[in-house]
Symmetry: C2
Subunit: 491 residues, 2 copies
């Protein structure tokens, strides 16, 4: 653990990268663009995963698993999809290696060439809808509410740990419905789950809305998203839920016999969040002292550090510390008691501060005498001395407070960095010099969005679901507009 | 659901394959050798996964994630490993597709050729030990006790659902230690976990032992395994734990500074179980009526079916059924109340019997009058009428009984099909006509094992850890032997 990394002010990108690496969350691997998720980072991902998995199951979804490989021809079936996905991807062309003729290592066996190449899935709509054709015959087989936890690969040119990597982990839901209405309802239900997860577990406020056609998922009729604002004023798309209409059902010929005994194409949705959420989580709360984690997703919520001069004192402290540990664990709180003799308390304090452990308890001989504990919270770096009695309830309450505090801090940051703008000059100025979410009128055309992007690097992050209609003039063309949309530069 | 499939007696292989497909566990996909794991099958896998994950964590292991891709050259570093793994595998050679010149679909963009090909991981020792080089400097960094849940790919020519598929899911543990003794202890500890899981959760007795050199993992010094006996008399390797010595540390130059301040190579283990366990689970207990699942791994432990003639009767039954459901769920038992009006009770009975639900409760109007429930168990197909009072405790007890019964039934099957054999003729006869585990003396040479395999298709499944030394003569060569080993034909 070391603090030799820049502040957010000095170099935000470097601050983020160093934090991820030095806090043992992830690192670059020997494979270009692919990361290794280290145990501490993976423990956070496991909490994300188990929470979302529970939320999906509570709403009637089940898990399944589909192949990693997708035959190349599958991508060509859906016209938009192939444009969006079948280009920058990993292609498997052979299935055997052989010893090199010169005796050094192995080479591809050219006789073992696949007749049709396989693509490593960048997303699984095609292989899943090819499968659904056999699963769906009648309205009785619907809805199908299936989710998959998997790795996917998109060949990215510029990668950043968690935010954009060639291989990443995610969940992808793929549901099939008898009616358009039911499919749209599902798409919106999932958006609600994503937003609730982001706000209640990640303590990260998000805007819910639609994507503009330019930013829509390749093959979707409508893409819903949640968008968060990072501390550098850039937006981050944290999850998407797509209403796919009958596009994939038509591409893969998935029809069902309706209650009225008519053959109809099935309606589809797909939705996903990925290890990108890790990047959002880190950037939403952390500071120049290191990671700050919301208690609900912290692998260690409370660390207890014994303070002693002589090793004889450790025994008594440990008895008290373990009692507190057990009492907290009984409440479902994860606790680490770090009684390692190989590191000094000061080193441990710095370590857990850097790794974002929400609450630190320190207990020394004087605390035993006075029946007290020193309690430090990571979010504000405040310390106080509390009476030992009932400490587990006090700590539980403190964790709840921290969770709320982080959310409200992030929310007021977003509020302070959301601007309603009516002139093109002001728009350019804010995008360039302040960042944040910019609410502005847009004439609704892809051409205008494209030009704004070219001139400012800002894109429409979302067309908010809850915004009120408001007549105005497009910031760029001056044409009539019915609603403000949210612009920002984005990750 | 349909029972139009052969009995075990008629055609065991077909019985297995039909069972997997018709019970909605898995099916073949559009990708050669790759399966789709369907929701019902995946729910069993999730139970396997969560149980093992808990056992690993309880013994100090943590999860992490390493890249799917492995640079080709990595395989050549460890001489045995390359022979064993880097041959039949999926090779990524390109990273882009482009529109076909004829406008039909997409083709590989030959300008986007990788400088060095990537192999889809068949197992991750190489990429992990390449990573460990940076994680390990001193004895303070040891042990590293890391596990990964992942998909792997081995290009199999003949595949069978769950038992041998091109892509499969598994966990692979990779640990690093300061001493040989500690690494061996870890290897054996994991073998113990695997055996306990197989016996207590899968209700499947296993032999624990070592592999002969011929069957050893490519790159291991010693391979430990658990072996189970299937109902057709063939053995199935259900899990392996490898002591890797310093082979991978040397291949990837992973050294550490010992307490004595000396630079030494790190000691390694690796260990894994896969979705193959699903195949073992299915074959260990199921019968000609369909699946039989041990309660501890059954997605639905208890199903409740209402019996009624008029829809008016359903309301009252449902009140009672839901009360029982809640009482059982409070005990942590998973219950499904199937009150669908679209299927008859007889159809439901057949369905849940076929899908191996351990306990079925049926409640009709007469039961309400008499305060009774009809309780049917899947393992013996026995039914009895029980008093409603205290039904949750009776069912809980019954589930425990079923779990034990399945284990003991499988154990006596194994005992009845384990033969101690002293002549070559008897050996050949039993292998050919009876199957089962054959305990026989072996001279300890790979050549003899190879010849026995050629003549009988039987291999040494394991050299049991708990067998007593016994002087005898090799079944094949007549040379001196110190111990009986276990031969069988195997999956």
């Amino acid at each position: 653990m070391a603090k030799d990394f820049p502040t957010r002010e000095e170099n935000y990108a470097q601050w983020y990268n160093d934090l991820v690496i030095k806090a043992d969350l992830a690192e670059n691997s020997a494979v270009r663009g692919c990361m290794v998720i280290k145990p501490y980072g993976y423990a956070i991902w496991e909490k994300i995963q188990s929470t979302l998995d529970r939320m999906f199951k509570e709403t009637g979804h089940v898990n399944a698993y589909f192949p990693l490989f997708i035959p190349k021809s599958f991508f060509s079936r859906e016209a938009d999809h192939v444009e969006g996905f079948a280009k920058e991807c990993a292609v498997v062309t052979h299935y055997r290696l052989k010893n090199a003729p010169d005796g050094k290592g192995v080479v591809v066996d050219e006789t073992a060439k696949l007749e049709e190449e396989y693509i490593i899935r960048p997303t699984s709509e095609t292989i899943i809808w090819d499968t659904y054709r056999n699963w769906i015959q009648s309205y009785r087989d619907l809805p199908l509410l299936v989710n998959q936890w998997a790795n996917v690969v998109r060949w990215e040119m510029r990668t950043r740990l968690f935010l954009r990597t060639t291989e990443f982990l995610w969940q992808e839901g793929h549901t099939a419905h008898a009616t358009k209405e039911e499919a749209i309802e599902e798409t919106e239900k999932i958006l609600g789950i994503y937003a609730r997860f982001a706000e209640e577990w990640m303590a990260m406020p998000v805007l819910k809305g639609l994507k503009s056609p330019n930013e829509r998922f390749a093959g979707a009729v409508e893409t819903y998203c949640i968008e968060a604002l990072m501390q550098d004023g850039k937006a981050l798309q944290a999850g998407t839920s797509h209403f796919l209409g009958q596009n994939f059902a038509k591409a893969f010929d998935v029809q069902f016999l309706s209650k009225e005994n008519k053959l109809e194409y099935v309606w589809a949705t797909s939705w996903g969040v990925s290890t990108r959420l890790m990047g959002a989580l880190i950037m939403a709360h952390s500071d120049d002292n290191g990671l700050v984690l919301p208690p609900k997703l912290a692998p260690i919520e409370v660390v207890i550090v014994p303070i002693y001069k002589k090793i004889e004192q450790l025994g008594e402290i440990s008895i008290v510390a373990n009692k507190i540990k057990q009492a907290l664990e009984k409440k479902g709180i994860s606790v680490k008691y770090d009684d390692r003799d190989t590191f000094k308390p000061g080193w441990k304090f710095a370590e857990y501060e850097f790794k974002g452990v929400p609450v630190r308890l320190a207990i020394g001989p004087r605390d035993l005498e006075n029946q007290t504990v020193e309690v430090a919270r990571r979010d504000t770096l405040e310390k106080e001395i509390l009476q030992m009695a009932d400490i587990e309830n006090k700590v539980e309450h403190l964790l709840e407070q921290i969770q709320k505090k982080l959310y409200h801090r992030a929310l007021s940051f977003r509020e302070n960095n959301t601007f309603s703008v009516d002139t093109w000059d002001e728009f350019k100025d804010i995008i360039e010099n302040k960042g944040g979410f910019v609410l502005a009128h847009w004439d609704g055309t892809p051409e205008t969005e494209e030009k704004i992007k070219e001139e400012t690097k800002a894109t429409i992050r979302t067309i908010p679901l809850d915004s009120k209609p408001e007549i105005g003039k497009c910031i760029y063309t001056g044409k009539t507009s019915n609603q403000r949309v949210v612009f920002a530069r984005a990750y």
